[in-house]
């Protein structure tokens, strides 16, 4: 019996010992783990599209600190301004916010949004992880990268929920600094400015995190009872 097993191992073809890259077959497409992993790619694409389409940033005014100098009436006067995903991502359209000068004038400023390279990079990264998810799904060789895919999806989701930070950074507003008139760069105050997530940021974050969860479940199903992809080849 022992001799027979040893003989079987010795007779195994060399190609099986060598891990193969990107093997797609119909049998694999029927496995729940593979289906879930592929579905995570669709969910990732959806999350990226939603991040570019849904409102991502809301600009409001609120009395949230004792240092607030804007009047409540002024804050109420300005309705919540939602920045579209497209304008948040690619810029080109105008948006408005209040500036308060050293002497107290509260001026409604209109500026053109800049290209948001930070969020753009994260969304490109999400697409890269989607491609990686595809490769991991059909390559046993890359299976060890499955955790990286999960992490990547979630990080990109968190990047979406951080949109207000990127938006303020690339458009250079919201940084309350000194208001000395000698300081040419920081003459205006931004206090009471309340820039936070619009629903699109939360939705796209949840969708991308959801992609990570779906991929994780798919991975768990694939690995349950051992990876049998080589057996199917």
């Amino acid at each position: 019996m022992e001799m027979r097993l040893v003989a079987a191992v010795d007779d195994a073809p060399e190609t099986e010992a060598k891990e193969q890259f990107l093997i797609i077959n119909k049998a694999a497409l029927k496995r729940p783990g593979v289906i879930l992993r592929l579905f995570s790619i669709v969910v990732c694409f959806l999350g990226s599209v939603l991040a570019a389409v849904l409102p991502m940033v809301t600009i409001e005014y609120a009395s949230y600190s004792s240092a607030t100098t804007f009047t409540d009436a002024r804050a109420v006067r300005f309705p919540a301004e939602m920045i579209s995903g497209w304008n948040n991502l690619f810029g080109g359209d105008y948006f408005g916010y209040y500036l308060k000068s050293k002497y107290g004038a509260e001026v409604l400023c209109t500026v053109k949004a800049n290209f948001n390279w930070v969020l753009f990079l994260f969304l490109i990264l999400a697409l890269v992880f989607a491609v990686l998810a595809f490769l991991v799904t059909f390559s046993k060789k890359m299976e060890k990268l499955s955790k990286l895919v999960i992490l990547g999806y979630i990080v990109c989701g968190i990047a979406c929920v951080c949109s207000p930070i990127w938006f303020m950074a690339v458009n250079n507003f919201g940084n309350t600094q000194a208001i000395a008139t000698t300081d040419l760069g920081h003459y205006y105050l931004f206090d009471s400015l309340y820039v936070h997530d619009a629903f699109g940021a939360v939705v796209s974050c949840l969708v991308l995190v959801g992609a990570g969860v779906v991929f994780a479940v798919g991975t768990a199903k694939e690995n349950a009872g051992g990876d049998n992809r080589n057996a199917e080849q």
Binding site: R77, A105, V111
Partner: protein, 288 residues
């Protein structure tokens, strides 16, 4: 197959619908005169106050020394001042050496009028309201002039509609944009002109508020920054000078009452001497 087509349609159309339907469209570039709101005249508004502030100064970047800002008036604009109107024709005015508050108080059938010099912290009380009218008219006049100045700025902005930087001599940048958000609106004109080593950046912000159904100018800020680059002792230096003019106008639906604490002021009775005054028990004021 039909199911797939429907799904594809949903995936394509849904984002498009969301793109157009879920965001505000407050801010735009001014493209025509229709983008300018109709603003009420000063006569149709209750303008409670108007305060004008100016500032200018300079700083040097790259050099060893830098000067600090010095408050001063700007030749192209009027000096800093403030005028406040309250209910019952009470007022306060601060313009150059003039700094007065006019205040009235009703006692039964009689009204006492106080005119207080805020600089000297003293004033008089009288029953003759005409003694307060000079500064009341001055305060009203200041407010009207300030509002007219803002109207002039607004009209001037309209001349930039449809123009580009190329239409102006030495201008390299021109932006005229506006935001209308709820009961607030703001127009922003930015220009940059370059003449050799001298660059002049001008930013004009004019903010309007809708008060009682009327659009009115409420805040204005104009900042001119001039930078001049030159070489000195082999070093490239840039000298910045700037000037700031700001108007803060308060428009209300009804004038509020002036709350004045007279405890900090010495008040005398206009046209009377202590000998003319007796207490209610008949004791003259000159006696204890």
């Amino acid at each position: 197959m039909r199911t797939y087509r429907k799904l594809a349609l949903v995936f394509v159309l849904a984002p498009a619908v969301l793109l157009t339907g879920c965001t505000n469209d407050f801010s735009k570039s001014v493209t025509s005169l229709d983008d300018f709101l109709t603003v009420a005249d000063a006569a149709n508004l209750n303008i409670q106050s108007s305060v004008v502030k100016t500032d200018s100064g300079s700083s040097s970047v790259g050099g060893a020394s830098s000067s600090t800002a010095a408050s001063s008036s700007i030749e192209e604009d009027r000096p800093a001042h403030g005028a406040y109107l309250y209910a019952n024709d009470n007022y306060s005015i601060s313009n150059g050496s003039i700094s007065y508050t006019g205040y009235s108080e009703v006692h039964g059938a009689e009204t006492d009028y106080f005119l207080i010099d805020l600089t000297k912290k003293s004033g008089f009380v009288t029953t003759d309201s005409s003694l307060l009218t000079t500064y009341l008219n001055a305060a009203k006049n200041l407010i009207v002039l300030d509002y007219a100045a803002l109207t002039s700025v607004y009209e001037d902005m309209k001349t930039y509609v449809g123009k580009t930087a190329a239409d102006y001599d030495k201008m390299t940048h021109l932006k005229l944009a506006y935001t209308v958000a709820g009961d607030a609106a703001g127009y922003n004109l930015s220009t940059i002109t370059v003449d050799g080593a001298i660059k002049v950046e001008t930013n004009v912000y004019l903010t309007l508020d809708n008060i009682g159904g009327n659009w009115a100018f409420t805040n204005y800020s104009k900042r001119i920054t001039t930078s001049e680059t030159y070489e000195k002792n082999g070093k490239i230096l840039t000298n910045y000078t700037y000037s700031v003019t700001e108007y803060m106008v308060t428009v209300v639906t009804a004038f509020s009452l002036l709350n004045l604490n007279l405890a900090n002021y010495s008040i005398y009775i206009q046209g009377k001497t202590p000998a003319d005054i007796t207490w209610t028990n008949g004791t003259p004021l000159t006696e204890k």
